[in-house]
Symmetry: C2
């Protein structure tokens, strides 16, 4: 099946075509590029929502509850569960799939776990490309679940229109939260497990932090909401907030600017991937060996490899 | 001052030259490349140790205690505190510097906080280049402190010879730990705050997990050690383990293979950075605009930009 045909099928609602398309973009290479090129005209209408927070914050359960809430409003939902930390073994842990089984069998939901292996450019790249497939397939909302708050998660957050940061009562003090940089990427804060002791205090700390943040008139003010994801409490308010945030992005012109930035990132990533593919020729291993022996430096070697490509 | 001169000065022990060199490589671009090329012949002898773990695990305090232990053995120590999560504001939190002030004034210690802004290729790249400067300056050990367990941290761990994963009692169950992928990157486990309730249990769980892991004869077996970093308890055993691990890498030939892999990553990163610089010409913004409008796709655009470079 060629790329155009595969895209036509996934747009027609064939789940197997969608699964196959995501596998192809996850693997990368020329086949992935062809598929992305074919899908590209059909992308750009999904609301991409990132859900991030520390391990143990109940993100998978919250994602499930939010997906059910969006479904009850008639929206189709794609879920990308990112497991950024298995570069060697690949694959996600069974637990998530079990937690998410409440969504199983609903044709309006598509769940995919991502692993990072085998993809030049890393997990953020593969995730963005998988989101593009779900986007082309017509899912109204795509939820991306990521663990932690490292650079990888920040990169993935950039793919999202709206980033929900999940905190739980008693996990780390406020200095740690600032350190985790969540203030800068959060569009909506969710204090999950809000029936636990200390929840009020966590909400208060987050609001105090937000109060201290530099804020211009007309800026989006991240709400601090509470949830008990296991009981689906809080989901309607969170979905409302995410929807309001997307409207704010559109009304303020930020959506257009984000689209431009995303386009630039996509182009930069494509350029980097192609550069590596083209320069990994017969001379590559020799350069690597000489760099390892400290006879050459990496940048000088790269310049020379480029020189062989042709005049610049 | 030209690159050769700056490298000569930092190799002569001038701290200001070292600080300036790290700033240059953190910023990236042609000046950084020239500096790295000049430093490259003098690199490769430092033992690079990554220290990672969740927020609140007491990593900064542990790093301080380990640095003091290495100093007491006569080794000079560079410290790179990575704050991967401030892509917008940059800068590290004051707290770390306060915690590390016990090391202040010791000429055998050099501390640097990293931020990710302004550097093509991201924080892992900037960190590796900063480590190269400390390496060229002759520090016997370089400690890299990172937060969390995301892809960024895994990338940074690849820079290290030895990765210490810090856990604390009661933070997350074993499923979460597996999810965080720490098993694959950890060379030494440290259960910090070992005077807390549940420490024995955490140690037992980690040992059980390691027992389940696939293990070949002659493989390094990650020890599970305990520490009370605030009291510097456990530091000698941790430094011993890290030193034994480095000896294992050398004796088993893995050190050479890691050096080769590092060289390949350096070359790939250099190629990617150069590709972006060269293709960001007058046509760049037009391509970005057309991609944002979904009139073009990123990979097709990248192909065309490459085509303008010359024949391939």
């Amino acid at each position: 099946m060629n790329s155009q045909e595969l895209i036509a099928r996934l747009r027609g609602g064939e789940r197997r075509a969608l699964a196959r398309a995501i596998t192809i973009v996850e693997t990368g290479g020329p086949a992935a590029r062809e598929l992305l090129a074919a899908a590209y005209p059909y992308t750009g209408s999904t609301h991409v929502v990132g859900i991030t927070g520390p391990p143990g914050a109940g993100k998978s359960t919250l994602v499930t509850a939010l997906a059910q809430e969006w479904r009850s409003r008639g929206a189709t939902v794609g879920i990308v569960a990112v497991d950024p930390t298995s570069p060697f073994t690949g694959g996600a842990v069974l637990g998530d799939r079990i937690r998410m089984q409440a969504l199983g069998g609903d044709p309006g939901v598509f769940i995919r776990s991502m692993a990072s292996r085998g993809r030049l450019g890393g997990l953020a790249r593969a995730t963005a490309d998988a989101v593009a497939m779900l986007d082309a397939a017509g899912f109204a909302v795509v939820l991306i679940e990521t663990v932690g708050a490292g650079q990888g998660e920040v990169d993935i957050a950039r793919t999202a229109h709206t980033t929900l940061v999940v905190e739980v009562p008693g996990m780390g003090d406020d200095v740690q939260s600032i350190k985790a940089g969540v203030l800068e990427i959060a569009d909506v804060f969710v204090v999950n497990k809000a029936d636990r002791e200390g929840a009020d205090n966590t909400v208060r700390q987050l609001r105090a932090m937000l109060h201290l943040a530099d804020h211009k008139p007309g800026d989006w003010e991240p709400p601090v909401l509470t949830a008990i994801a296991t009981a689906a409490t809080g989901s309607p308010a969170i979905v409302d907030a995410a929807t309001r945030h997307m409207a704010h992005l559109r009304d303020s012109g930020q959506a257009a600017e984000r689209t431009r930035q995303a386009a630039e990132r996509e182009l930069a990533a494509a350029v980097q991937e192609l550069a590596l593919e083209r320069l990994r020729g017969p001379a590559w291993e020799q350069f690597v060996a000489r760099i390892a022996a400290r006879e050459r430096d990496p940048y000088g070697s790269a310049e020379e490899l480029f020189g062989e490509l042709g005049p610049t």
